[in-house]
Amino acid sequence: MTKYVVKRLLIMIPTLLGVLLIIFAINKMIPGDPAKLALGSNFTQEAYEAKRAQMGLDKNVVIQFFDYVKGVVTHFDLGTSYDTKRPVSGMILSRIGITLKLGIWSCIVTIVIGVAIGILSAVKKYSVIDYVMTTLAIIFSAAPGFWVALMSMMVFCLKLGWFPAGGMGGWRYMVLPVLCMALSPISLVVRMTRTSMLDVINQDYIRTARAKGVAERNVIFKHAFRNALIPIITVIGAQLTMVVGGSFIIESVFSIPGIGMLLLTAINTRDYPAIQGTVLVLSFFVCIINLLTDIAYAYADPRIKSQYVGGKSRGLKRKGEKQDAKA
């Protein structure tokens, strides 16, 4: 298992380099000149040339890329922001806490609420609760995040005045952003949990468990839920990467100074080092979430775990299971 994790961590390096290459290329292709933006409207040709040299934009693009990568790899230097003239790594570090807090809380809310409602819907299938919950889940998975954010702001901040409309502070500032961020993932997790649980509950081994005299609560949680986990983990994993990537929408709507806001400002001011740095950090988190998802698979299903461990145990090389592990 450790071997598998180390292997996966090593594979992350080329992935992240690829991300850097792509984002670097996109930066060079989009219109806009950071030197001109930095100088304002009135500048001489000499000043412009000097600025470009200072920013390192006068060199060959390939050399620029390798210089940047060298800085990142050798001493984790993500460059200096054109805009604030501060090191990008420092800017990211000072903001990542808020984004992580937001992300982790919405993960917890997603998993707890989503799985609980999903199981309830499955166990009480075709009841009023089930119909209400699945209908709500379909509505909320269709509603765009920014719309939900704006609507909830209108209702809960302006009309009811329960929560502040933006900024950072105590827990009251977190409630709306976390809920808005979690709403769409919750509805997906609810539907996935329900489908997956219903599928498992009809399996023969659930009947076996009942025939053994296992109490209904244990049948649901010990026998059914653990088997239903694989598809649920898949959805949660995919949704968490969306939470990380999509945090800038919620952050900008609620004016939360997180990493998403940093990325947005950086894009507006053509702040290349800041864009590259933030994207790199975000892709790092996505990679980590994917790895955690795959590790979670192994703990949920011994058949997948035996794949990771490799040919040491017996009877492992079976067709079809490799696809399961990847799915």
């Binding site: 076996t208 468990a209 025939a211 005299g213 026998h223 088997n227 058949r303």
Partner: protein
Amino acid sequence: MSEHLLEINDLDVQFHTMDGTVHAVNGISLEIDPGETLGLVGETGAGKTTTALSILNLIQSPPGKIEHGEILFEGRNVLEMSEAELHAYRGSDVAMIFQDPMTALNPIYTVEYQIAEVIQIHEKVSKEEAIEKAREMLEFVGIPAERGCEYPHQFSGGMKQRVVIAMALACSPKLLLADEPTTALDVTIQAQVLDMMNDLKKKFNSAMLLITHDLGVVAETCDKVAIMYAGKIMEYGSLEDIFDHTAHPYTEGLFNSIPSLDEDVERLKPIRGLMPDPSHLPEGCAFNPRCPYADKLCQSAEAELQEVGPGHYCRCHHVNKGVPMYFPDEKGNELAYQHGLPVSNPGNDFLEKGQKGEKADE
């Protein structure tokens, strides 16, 4: 009354589905005494598994519903037990061996854990003791104890079936419901599993309800046999009654469809037609569309279970009326006509052809 270990009286199970009501079990009555093996024989869809699941009160509801009847286990009605009583009853008083070992085991738990679970529920033992006993059970069924920590996907089909059997026997149940325990296995393993079940049954002195469609298995293991068709018991009696004094045409048909080594025939003699759709059972005797002896009475009135010998029951209008029961080979056909058996079944083209032929001869 309560000398029987299990007594089923007039059990009726229906499944209410979108496409109509499926009459799976229609008023069957059975008794099983301690240590006895009852074979429940019938084609696919005859309601055998439904009967076994009813004994555990495990009919999935909805859509299934036990309409009426009672199932008495040691005098207690299973259908009126509370949830807690049922949990104590399932697995310890009555255990079930399921049909398909491939899907009957939970893929995410080790086999020893799955056996230990049933021990832990019903016996006051610690987790370690339960695991210890589970490993003993594995040894009993011929699986090395050290393989207990492996998962079902690491076992072959025959071994999974042994695990399922070990699980069912773990709490020495008084009654074992074996639902086609050998159907999913290949023939060499079948014999092994049957031998093992017989040995274990003797060891634990369990009674057994053996569900099967294999009359060979019945001959080898059962004391009593019930032949089931379309949710009803057609014939019921001791092993000798059924095998040597067959009374019901359906039972006869079952025997005739077994290939024989002595006779060199080109084709087997299956029972013509298919099992009726349990949501649209035919009027009268359920077997009448396929029965070579069916007449107007069979199409209109349902036959009652009549005693044809001591402890030997048969559900047929023609039994006890001196009508010879021959399955329609050439000779039997002739005899049937000599006795003036009316042939009015329109689906019975085989006999109609014979009738026309006879008329032409006249």
